[in-house]
């Protein structure tokens, strides 16, 4: 695909920001800052801006923590490739879309699917209850992730989590998550 095709695709999809590469803390700080300014310039309702910002933080930090913990066996090039990720943020008059994509180990695909499918079965009240029980169960990873990310994204966006998993080879799959946030008036 040449650059102009890429440009036109992004234009057609109303992309505000797209990125492919390694996910660092500094990158996330910049992206969040850019998005705050953009949403202000676009004159989105404060309620929309808050929702999008909250969900964006969780989506991007999910990526960040996943990549940090993701164990890739191989040479430096292989590690850099598999620890790269992609994300984009698009905006139409009605809604925002946050899309993230990253490599996952094939052996972890089932538990990932189960986790999201379970969340997608819950209604709002059940999600709230589930969030509270995970919050209070005391378990937490070293860096402070506690498995609350997907639950929070589902709860705050008010939408089901859309995902797809593409099998690449015997070891890896590619996981894509699409989160929709309806604009508030």
């Amino acid at each position: 695909m040449d650059t102009f095709d890429l440009y036109r695709t992004m234009e057609k999809d109303n992309v505000l920001i797209a990125f492919k590469g390694s996910i660092t803390s500094e990158l996330l700080t910049s992206v969040l800052q850019i998005m705050e300014t953009k949403m202000e310039d676009l004159d989105d309702a404060p309620k929309t801006r808050k929702k999008v910002f909250n969900v964006l933080v969780e989506c991007l930090q999910n990526l960040y923590h996943h990549i940090e913990e993701f164990e890739v066996v191989g040479d430096a090039e292989e590690v850099t490739e598999k620890k790269s990720a992609i994300f984009s943020i698009s905006r139409t008059e009605e809604c925002y879309y946050i899309v993230t994509g990253n490599f996952v180990s094939k052996k972890n695909v089932d538990s990932l699917k189960n986790k999201i499918d379970y969340i997608n079965k819950l209604d709002r009240a059940e999600l709230k209850q589930y969030y509270k029980s995970i919050l209070n169960n005391g378990e937490m990873s070293e860096k402070g992730g506690g498995g609350l990310g997907f639950i929070d994204i589902a709860k705050k966006s008010g939408e089901k989590l859309k995902y797809s998993i593409k099998e690449l080879d015997t070891t890896y799959s590619f996981f894509t998550l699409t989160v929709k946030i309806t604009q508030k008036k």
Binding site: L32, V57, Q61, Y131, K132, M140, G144, L148, G149, K156
Partner: protein
């Protein structure tokens, strides 16, 4: 004991804990590594518990917090809940029509055995 003062950043809140019993957390709490950030805060409360004021008033004025911080904030409340010899009151601020923030405060209120007051403000 000494007060605890941490200046806010793009990802971490302003922390103003006074040994006179007035504790404030204000701003946004969205660091990737929240445990590291909250450790000195929890340590300070532990020390404060050795000779607390009769009243401790806690003001939480957060604009945003991530799920990684949410467990740490719970730990802060649990630490406060465990303090003997002081009456702890928590004021949880939220911007008007920020239902998510109000809901978050109510979640803590349901888990923690301390009096919470939900305070609606126009802007934090």
């Amino acid at each position: 004991m000494e007060d605890l003062n941490l200046e806010g950043t793009a990802k971490t809140p302003t922390v103003d804990f006074k040994s006179n019993g007035e504790l404030l957390i204000k701003g946004r709490s969205i660091p990737e590594n929240s445990i590291e950030f909250y450790k000195p805060i929890i340590d300070w409360i532990t020390d404060y518990g050795n000779s607390p004021q009769s009243d401790t008033s806690v003001n939480i004025q957060l604009e945003y917090f991530n799920t990684s911080s949410s467990k740490c904030i719970l730990d802060v409340f649990k630490k406060l809940e465990s303090l003997p010899d002081t009456s702890v009151k928590i004021k949880w601020y939220y911007e008007e029509d920020d239902e998510d923030m109000l809901e978050a405060g109510e979640d803590y209120e349901a888990i923690i055995d301390l009096p919470f007051e939900m305070v609606e403000v126009e802007e934090l």
